[in-house]
Symmetry: C2
Subunit: 219 residues, 2 copies
């Protein structure tokens, strides 16, 4: 099976990288900083985006490209939160690719935003293998997922610029060792930025939004 699949996937990856470079050029021409957000289903990708939009209202113009296998529930939520958003439905695909993002830009008001979140399909495995043209890669872990996930899905932890550790308001109810978890993640990725946050209580959100503002200012 692997001998049959590898050459095909390599050819796709080559085409994907070319398209990702084109996307990146378009983002740079518009002075927009783009953040690719990757996480397991239910880690809180949309909640983090919504809470970030709310906190930076009037300071940073944020938009979102929402990836999902099906439905427009996330796009509806982000629009209701006051930010421009477009939906990509993969129809069964387990990650976004650069071509899907390029197509979504036809409907996206790039001139009206400073920072764009691309919310990838909920999956800890495949999305990290496909560049979309983003400047920054962020993964989200959530406390209820358990603190052993870096052992099982090492590639995503090793290949992102930052990790948001979400739902820390649930720490009192769950056996999650925050310190050991952060140490484990740093062993895979010594330069990673770590942001323990709760979108519910707001704890840790200031550090996260300041970091984003610095990224967008550098653009």
């Amino acid at each position: 099976m692997s001998t049959r699949r590898v050459p095909v996937i390599e050819r796709i990856m080559g085409a994907n990288d070319t398209q990702a470079a084109d996307n990146r050029r378009i983002f740079d021409e518009h002075g927009v900083h783009v953040v690719n957000i990757m996480a397991a289903p239910g880690a809180g990708k949309t909640s983090l985006i919504l809470e970030t939009v709310r906190r930076l209202q009037g300071e940073l113009r944020i938009g979102a490209i929402e990836g999902d296998v099906a439905s427009t529930v996330d796009t509806d939520k982000v629009r209701a939160g006051g930010a421009p958003a477009v939906q990509i439905n993969t129809g069964g695909g387990c990650h976004l690719d650069a071509k899907q993002v390029a197509q979504s830009l036809n409907e996206f008001p790039l001139d009206e935003v400073d920072l764009v979140f691309i919310e990838n399909v909920g999956n800890l495995i495949c999305p990290v293998g496909f560049a979309l043209g983003e400047h920054t890669r962020v993964a989200i872990s959530s406390v209820p997922e358990g603190d052993d996930k870096p052992y099982k899905y090492p590639k995503i932890y090793a290949n992102v610029d930052a990790l948001v550790i979400n739902k820390i308001d649930l720490l009192p109810y769950l056996p999650f060792d925050l310190e050991a978890f952060q140490k484990l993640v740093r062993s895979l990725n010594p330069d990673i930025e770590l942001f323990p946050v709760s979108c519910v209580t707001g704890k840790g959100m200031d550090a996260w939004t300041s970091w984003l503002q610095n990224l967008a200012r550098a653009e």
Copy 2:
């Protein structure tokens, strides 16, 4: 991209189905009932298996085939819980396939068990597309993931025999509408068995273990 990929994937699926039928024959020859467990990372697949093993000790001989991208942490836990277990590491693959399961059987004591859990790779999208030779397919949702997941990942909810709704002990702390969630799942799959459970408090576990015992008895 899709025109290039589809024929290759279809050929692989054909080979996978043939191997799955061979696996099924082997399971049947040994009178073993096999349950393919699929869920997002951190939904509680291993916890459910461990708690089921503990509760059915002396009544049902249970084993596990543990799938992960990397590590043997789950197999170590199941063995420590007193059940035979083997690990499959996909090395990057986002689902198990029938060939991997066939190879794992070389090390597995099928004559010593009545029921085998195959714990699939943590992923709500791809595993449901690959038969492994199992008799029964079970998905696990967990309360912290949120009650909107069936909109986003409809295929898995529509194609399993049962859904375990895990971590109901966290319902007081999270905005999860259990009744609406079950209604939504039934709209995708009217015949599905639903088991709201907590592996921590034990609530709902009796209904789940009784159901499994009936499945194994029918073998």
